[in-house]
Symmetry: D3
Subunit: 161 residues, 6 copies
Amino acid sequence: MEKDNKLSHLDENNNPSMVDVSDKKVTKRVAVAQSVVQLTEGIVSVLQNKEINLKKGPVFQTAIIAGTMAAKNTSNLIPLCHPLGLESCNISISVEGLNATIICECSITSKTGVEMEALTGASIAALTIYDMCKAMSHDIVINETKLIKKTGGKSDYRNSY
Amino acid sequence: MEKDNKLSHLDENNNPSMVDVSDKKVTKRVAVAQSVVQLTEGIVSVLQNKEINLKKGPVFQTAIIAGTMAAKNTSNLIPLCHPLGLESCNISISVEGLNATIICECSITSKTGVEMEALTGASIAALTIYDMCKAMSHDIVINETKLIKKTGGKSDYRNSY
Amino acid sequence: MEKDNKLSHLDENNNPSMVDVSDKKVTKRVAVAQSVVQLTEGIVSVLQNKEINLKKGPVFQTAIIAGTMAAKNTSNLIPLCHPLGLESCNISISVEGLNATIICECSITSKTGVEMEALTGASIAALTIYDMCKAMSHDIVINETKLIKKTGGKSDYRNSY
Amino acid sequence: MEKDNKLSHLDENNNPSMVDVSDKKVTKRVAVAQSVVQLTEGIVSVLQNKEINLKKGPVFQTAIIAGTMAAKNTSNLIPLCHPLGLESCNISISVEGLNATIICECSITSKTGVEMEALTGASIAALTIYDMCKAMSHDIVINETKLIKKTGGKSDYRNSY
Amino acid sequence: MEKDNKLSHLDENNNPSMVDVSDKKVTKRVAVAQSVVQLTEGIVSVLQNKEINLKKGPVFQTAIIAGTMAAKNTSNLIPLCHPLGLESCNISISVEGLNATIICECSITSKTGVEMEALTGASIAALTIYDMCKAMSHDIVINETKLIKKTGGKSDYRNSY
Amino acid sequence: MEKDNKLSHLDENNNPSMVDVSDKKVTKRVAVAQSVVQLTEGIVSVLQNKEINLKKGPVFQTAIIAGTMAAKNTSNLIPLCHPLGLESCNISISVEGLNATIICECSITSKTGVEMEALTGASIAALTIYDMCKAMSHDIVINETKLIKKTGGKSDYRNSY
């Protein structure tokens, strides 16, 4: 689904520039993004081990906090993002097989959407899991960082594949 | 290649804690990481269009700068990373088919490695490309964020798959 | 005065999560917090010395500025705080005996309150006084960091002890 | 124990100024600080409740992470602190009666000490506990933020009261 | 054109304090500022060289991105500035003779103006050009950082000289 | 004095890139920069007024603190600057006629110099004076931001005009 044939972040001289959103309408906007961390068997067995089953807790909670703080801080990381006052950010993590799937949902009542906030929250949560598990293996891969859906802007989006 | 059977970032009470590196040796450490941004045909054709072929320049340069600044700032994003004075960070981006592959190389002379810096630099560069192209499509996916190699620490690493 | 029997910052899985404030009303909210820095006699006499009586000025002004900047930056320090655009922050410091009492008042027109901003402003101002006086003594203690009052939210609060 | 009769952070014109540490020796320096959060009975019973006894975990782990990130970031909070590359930061929290006591230990091999880092880590951890429990009561008070000991600088320090 | 005979950022005790803007009206506010970087002949010839004429692109684009990020971050740099959610920031750079003139335009719908954001954006863009050219010469000078115009507040301003 | 005919911050593909300093020698490096704030008569008379002569104090001290914090934070503002642990930063401000001249001196023992830190410290101090005086007039201009001297690197520099 191609929406437009131009890159809105380049001005008429092809220089990077923030999009002017001053005339857009204030609406409630929600975005959900994901990131999938492919772990190793050794890591998953330590995280899930019944005897020491608290390990998953602090690892994932650290990732949730890092992702939340990064989502709030997106405009300091992505150069042309607008500074926004996020109204909510919820991150959940579930493990299936070797994959830890991170879901990050952000919302705001604003003139612009929060898809970059949701994607940044998911990405930094994924990197934090990497950091906390890398003493066991560096064979971790982060895949499928993508937008799941967004609502409240000019057009809604729902990932179709 | 499993290195160890414990998560070094949890202390004896399973609480998150920075690893104490005060007794490690200062050595030159290098890490190379990648991230692959899967674009759409519409986006690639705009980026590559001969008539307007400067568009790739500012998009990728913005991504390079964002990635470099994030790599320098890794310890403020990943909770248990040590603050480090990066000595170099070089990011390059190449397009093949629909994929823009980002390679981020970081180095330092320090007591601890820079793999998280290289991974963070690649990830934020990837998210910046997403941000700058998302006006055309949200069907962008970031894949294969992983470590390519690292040298200079207790053991070298080279990604084998 | 117990208000509720649950911790609002934990979601149904006991994971940390920002409270969703998107449906709350925008009202003017004010919070006042304090922090008390217990100094030593030597420090107080240098700060108050008539002959060199400008010393209190730069020490306290540095603390006021640090506290103000920290209050504005609260959501980058306290993981689950909402990013807010403070409309005012006023910090005053008075000395009585060995105690320097810091009062920090913040206000905003927003969906959520600013008590953490006021508490953070007072705390960082207190730590800054500590830093600027610690060459004379490390026997400094920071006490009674607490909320004095808040207005404008679901229920007002006034510290009763 | 008064060490000196001047405020090292004021220059000869009484203006705030970073201390010049360029000629000091590089040594291993350790500092331990504490902060005590006085909770309410209602909060303590929820944190400790056997049936829902995971609540203490995410609250304290969030505080530990916030404190660790703040300790690393001290020089951006306290105006005249030197930027430092912390080599370790360990925060632990224990509850006795109504008091949650936070102990923050930092270390570095550097020309200057890390007492402000330890104090800042303890303070922000304390404020984070406040934030996560304030839905139940605002009658929380943070007391006794102080240095416990420091070693490795010109003179060691051990809190004697 | 003197507007007032007092310094609004000092309170009644001459201590620095954020201005309370809570009762001001929300209006659309625009500010334009400039900064002029005086380069050397050697630098200008490298930037403009036809054979290698891409050099001006990445140098100026890096400056534009740095300036934009700084404009968004003004309230973390200038102690008594209010945190604001910029709605647009556009920076352009043109060379005439030895001078690279930076124009930074910011806008917002808010209770307070964005002149400091525009000035900060122009200044950091200027410093970034300095940084990227200083390997050729340190004889660079940054001049005439000033407000060009502002609209939307209590009174409009247009620089008359 | 042209030193080199290339822009060291562009790599072989003309993309922005941090200079690799890993093989440079660690030496003590000092840099001194200035910035000149041209005020109005009304502002100078308020700052200097004998009866209320403390006003200059808090205005200039706020500027000194803002400049010091910015100098420490330079690598987060200027995209290709190396993160450094400043060992000292001293800022002084003097008024002559309508001009407030800011001198910022930074030092470090490191592989790379601190001229951008000194220039950034002077620039942000200048912008802070602007901010604190702009309620009286926006006819303020910041001029002559330049390097005065630097020592300790490959070659010393002393501004000759």
